[in-house]
Amino acid sequence: MSDESAVLREPWLDFDRQREAAKFGIWVFLGSEALFFGALLMTYTVCRVEHPEAFAAAGRETNIWYGTINTAVLLTSSLSMAMASQAAESGMRFRRLVLGCLLATVLLGLAFIVIKGFEYKEDIDKHLVPGAGFALPQAGAQLFYGLYWLVTGVHAVHLSIGMVLVSRLFWMFYQRKLRISENPELEVTALYWHLVDIVWIFLYPLIYLPGRAS
């Protein structure tokens, strides 16, 4: 499986060029993703500037413990993803390390989703879903929670796609259907995974810290 022709695809004549193109392509796509989340964060910013007190009050209602633990979980998953990607650079020597790291990444991602699920359940119990019977009196607080559900939801969808991609790679490597060393698919998946983490790094202060800083 270390045979180059096994991973060389149309229209490429040269494996290094193909690898370079895959990385270049995913960077362009990540630029697109930055604008995707950027538009959401811009919406958040506009609403927060219009309703500063309501956002502070709403931010205090979030559960910072869930948020902080999840941040740690997700950042650790980025570490294992980066280790998998670096270990794969060195070829077959670290096959088991690569497989272990990929598995850890998926499991950490799953842990994030599960913890997020507990948090969502608590939010629903506390009537923090916009609409009739919303817990907080301020109008802007509904905006905060509207965006909260949307942004975390979109982030969770991205994370789930990432988990599917990483699981697939794990399975293909485990079955020896793909070569590990210098695999462009692994590099591309790793870059995508890191984007999902970076988005969370922006979301954490925007969701959990308003109203708590002072």
Binding site: P11, A39, P130, L143
Partner: protein, 557 residues
């Protein structure tokens, strides 16, 4: 073949071209050949073009009479909304990039395919799925929000199928992003040896600049539609002022995409015309470098002018002032291009084959549309004509007069390359002239009606505007014939047309060095480039052997 012969190689054995490489339906539906995907797209957008055209035919029929004789207000709203949604996202945005761009980009840079062929096919399937959603929205009862999905029309006051239509546009956006990523990576990574950045044909530059906008603007459209869907479906209050939301925010998000989207529609058209004018004037393009810079400037500045759609929305006076200024600025690179096309004709040996007629039509109509855009960039005039037919006329001059003319120009120019067949030239010339006349008959009266105060999107109107509407509807009938003609004679040419040689127009460019139609991998040998584009004559000379008029005059004296 000449290069291969010069290199001392023997002629290659006959091999099937890309059209005859496989003939089953499955071989088309699972193809990753960029040329076949281009054909799939061409069929798809032709379908949507005539679907959107049918909707507007009913609208124009209705406007024959001022009293609303044919349609109810609701059906009228649904028909013009459907026309706008389909024409913008399912025809204009994919038109040139996904058909001509897909077909030509790899050929023009000397590559065997695009960088990610499977992604290319995936994006076509996304387009189909999105189109199905939007057509479902029509069949299920239609959408009455207008193509802009403005809140609160789309959130509070609409009981129609906004969800399906918005979801369709949301999904087709991902097709757009996938195409953009693919084309950018292709241009960066797959240029043939010697094909440096400043030897790229201007069409490639145009597709590249367009792809940048697709990649960076489309996600913002996705978010604005997602927020509308969330507001309708989940009851989130983002755009609802009674719950602290901000309806103007929707307009900002929407136009942050939709203004650059105008350039998604017109930049590829500029690229097509920049290929055709040098060919039929036998002239190098005038000011190649500045043509490139102008296109990049348009795609960059295009991101900072969205507020000129919102002069009456209640945004701050300062914002309006800045957006107005920037909107005037973006006219500069567009003007550079118009001057350069005109200058490229100077001392050329011009011939008026059908692609050239369409291309010259583009220059005239684009200039008219662009100049009327300056009226709209100026705040006082814009406030007077906001939401009138003046605006309708303006953007149809750019999108229909400009983009669609250029699409037909490109279609006729590269038809022999794509199909290997020649079409009846006199019919094509007739259609080109008819399209130009029909277009002006349709949309010129709308400038007058709009300036005199006829609002857009109303199906009844004061009787004094009837004359303009009758002229417009009559013109639309002519235009419809002009659009149907190519469908007829181009289809005819597929079966009965004469065989086209490799290079029927004697044009420069790598796509003309391979066979018509090209083989599955585009070239039988690795192309190498050692000259500038548009090498129609030696540098510093002109195509003609005659001397300029002015010198002749001097000799006479």
């Amino acid at each position: 073949m000449t290069d291969a012969l010069l290199a001392g190689e023997l002629p290659l054995p006959p091999r099937p071209d890309y059209l005859r490489h496989g003939s089953t339906i499955a071989s088309w539906l699972t193809t990753t050949d960029h040329k076949r995907i281009a054909i799939l797209y061409a069929v798809t957008i032709t379908f949507f073009f005539f679907l959107g055209g049918a909707a507007i035919t009913a609208v124009r029929l209705e406007l024959f009479q001022p009293n609303g004789w044919f349609l109810t207000s609701d059906s009228y709203n649904k028909l013009f909304s459907f026309h706008g949604i389909v024409m913008v996202w399912f025809f204009l945005v994919p038109s040139i990039p996904n058909t001509l761009g897909n077909f030509l980009l790899p050929l023009m840079i000397g590559a065997p395919d695009v960088a990610f062929p499977r992604l290319n096919l995936f994006s076509w399937y996304l387009t189909l799925a999105a189109g199905a959603l939007t057509v479902y929205a029509l069949l299920a009862g239609g959408v009455d929000t207008g193509w802009t999905f403005y809140t609160p029309y789309s959130s509070m006051f609409s009981n129609t199928h906004v969800f399906a239509a918005a979801a369709g546009v949301f999904v087709v956006g991902f097709a757009s992003i996938a195409t953009g990523v693919n084309f950018i990576a292709t241009t960066h990574m797959l240029r043939a040896p010697g094909m440096t950045w400043f030897r790229l044909p201007l069409f490639v530059w145009a597709i590249y600049a367009t792809s940048l906008i697709m990649v960076l603007a489309t996600p913002v459209l996705a978010i604005s539609l997602l927020l509308v869907i969330a507001e309708r479906w989940l009851g989130l209050p983002i755009f609802d002022p009674s719950r602290g939301g901000d309806p103007v925010l929707f307009q900002h998000l929407f136009w942050f995409y939709s203004h650059p989207a105008v350039y998604i529609m017109v930049l590829p058209a500029m690229g097509v015309v920049s290929e055709i004018i040098p060919c039929f004037a036998r002239r190098r393009i005038f000011g190649y470098d500045f043509m490139v810079y102008a296109m990049l400037a348009i795609s960059g500045i295009g991101f900072f002018v969205w507020g000129h759609h919102m002069f009456v929305s209640g945004q701050s006076a300062l914002a309006s002032l800045v957006f107005s200024f920037l909107s005037f600025i973006i006219a500069v690179p567009s003007a550079i291009k118009v001057f350069n096309w005109t200058a490229s004709l100077y001392r050329g040996q011009i011939s008026f084959e059908s692609p050239m007629l369409y291309a010259l039509g583009f220059v005239g109509l684009f200039t008219t549309g662009g100049l009327s855009g300056l009226f709209l960039a100026s705040i006082p005039v814009d406030i007077h004509v906001t939401d009138t037919y003046f605006v309708v006329a303006h953007f149809h001059y750019i999108m229909v007069g400009g983009s669609v003319s250029a699409f037909f120009a490109g279609l006729h120019f590269w038809w022999p390359k794509a199909t290997g067949k020649l079409y009846p030239e006199s019919w094509a010339k007739f259609a080109a002239i008819l399209m130009y006349s029909g277009f002006n008959m349709t949309f010129l009266p709308q400038f007058f009606a709009g300036y005199l105060g006829m609002p857009r999107r109303y199906h009844t109107y004061p009787a004094e505007f009837q004359i303009y509407n009758v002229m417009s509807s009559a013109g639309a009938a002519v235009l419809a014939v002009a659009y149907l003609l190519p469908l007829g004679y181009l289809t005819w040419s597929l079966f009965y047309g004469g065989r086209a040689g490799n290079n029927p127009w004697e044009a420069t460019g790598l796509e003309w060095t391979t066979t018509s139609p090209p083989p599955p991998k585009n070239f039988d040998w690795q192309p190498r480039v050692d000259r500038e584009p548009y090498d129609y004559h030696a540098e510093g000379l002109s195509a003609g052997t005659d001397r300029p008029e002015v010198q002749n005059v001097r000799e006479i004296q």
